[in-house]
Amino acid sequence: MCLAFPGKIIEINNQQATADFDGVQKVVNISLVPEIKVGEYVIVHAGFAIEQLTSQDAWEVLKEYEKGNRIIQGNIEKNS
């Protein structure tokens, strides 16, 4: 399971928000991410945003991993 897709929040209206998915706009339910702001990205599953998406992709994670660092939600935890 867990089919989900990333989108950018472009408008918020209480529990609903319009998200843009590579040029496709759809209303999604943001009850599960109440702190989300316009301009931020989310992953959407079955019509609901489940969590905020930050930017590190797999290649960046690999780079940090090879350096011996772990990335925890946007912060690089340097290997001490």
């Binding site: 399971m1 867990c2 089919l3 897709f5 998915f21 590579d22 040029g23 496709v24 706009q25 759809k26 209303v27 959407v44 599953h45 079955a46």
Partner: protein, 329 residues
């Protein structure tokens, strides 16, 4: 064979996938006389008359919604039949138009649809020469059904089975946008991508002499139609993932809804196999009609249809299942 006489008709039987093929085979076993006609498994049947071939084809159109971004049922009823003739290399001569309409259907909608039909007929230069209309009581039909039939002439037939080893596969433009338009009201999304429906006869005539095999990827999308070309041509086709002809919006909708993008239909695009040495010339001509035209794969010895992934692996492309059912899990 998944079908047998004791079954009832299911929606999957009309979906364009494997079950549809089996249904057609079942019916053909009963209605089996061919007379002097050939190519009955292709887009249209053909009859040799002198040094020409008469090509004859028909299709029924039931679309929901009947009005969608970029077109309506009238538009695709005309495009569909003209394009089937065009895919066989035929110059369309005329169409018939039959409409079965539900009682209560708004006259203004019928006129709008008729205007679309006229517009497409004019764009293609193909007149609607005969037709019929029927009205069914309210509730006995979902709004409107349109059937068109068409005849065309050609000295040389382009079939689905002519792809040669060493050919390249070209797409006349980005695919899948008709499905994008159709799904937009069901799934409530907005996008600037609209239905790609248009007539293809002029485009095809411009390159006909170079074409070994051609299909317009309507029902079943790219996957069903490329598989058909490969099977009938008894060859292996490899498509390049990097070159898949879809806009990012189309990929996004496929990803959001969990439907395979390769099964998305187009109503104004075609895929064709041409020899490698003619590819440059063909693209040059096609780009005048649609700058998105590009090479998407090639034909090899062997069998099956495969996708060469960006990772370098080769994985099979399969026939789409009957209905477009989105998944979440």
């Amino acid at each position: 064979m998944t079908i047998n006489k004791a079954d009832n008709i299911e929606l999957d039987h009309g979906g364009g996938g494997q079950k549809s093929s089996e249904l057609i085979s079942l019916i053909r076993n009963v209605i089996s006389d061919k007379g002097k006609w050939k190519n009955q498994m292709d887009d249209g049947a053909t009859l040799k008359i002198g040094n020409q071939h008469l090509v004859f084809t028909t299709d029924a159109y039931i679309v929901d919604p009947i009005f969608f971004p970029g077109g309506d049922i009238g538009k695709i009823a005309v495009c569909g039949t003209i394009n089937d003739l065009a895919m066989m290399g035929a110059v369309p001569q005329g169409l018939s138009l039959s409409m079965v309409i539900e009682e209560g259907f708004p006259m203004k909608d019928l006129l709008k649809i008729s205007e679309s039909i006229q517009k497409m007929s004019r764009e293609a230069g193909v007149p609607i020469v005969t037709g019929d209309t029927k009205v069914l009581p309210k509730g006995k039909l979902d709004k409107i059904e349109i059937t068109t039939a068409g005849v065309g002439l050609t000295k040389k037939i382009i079939s689905n089975s002519g792809a040669k080893i060493g050919d390249v596969v070209i797409s006349s433009g980005d695919l899948g946008e008709h499905t994008v338009a159709l799904l937009s009201s069901r799934f409530n999304y907005k996008t600037k991508v609209v239905s790609d429906s248009k007539t293809l006869n002029k485009e095809m005539q411009a390159i006909a002499k170079y074409v070994h095999a051609a299909k317009d990827p309507t029902r079943g999308g790219l996957s069903a139609n490329i598989i058909e070309i490969a099977e009938k041509s008894k060859a292996k086709i490899v498509l390049e993932e990097e070159l898949l002809p879809y806009k990012k919006e189309t990929f996004a909708i496929a990803g959001l809804l969990g439907i395979d993008v390769l099964s998305f239909a187009s109503e104004g695009r075609f895929i064709c196999a041409v020899s490698e040495k003619d590819a440059k010339k063909v693209l040059q001509i096609l780009k005048k009609f649609n700058p998105e035209a590009k090479i998407i794969g090639h034909v090899e010895k062997g069998k099956g249809v495969f996708l060469k992934t960006v990772l370098g692996s080769l994985r099979p492309i399969e026939m789409p299942r009957g209905k477009l059912v989105p998944r979440i899990c």
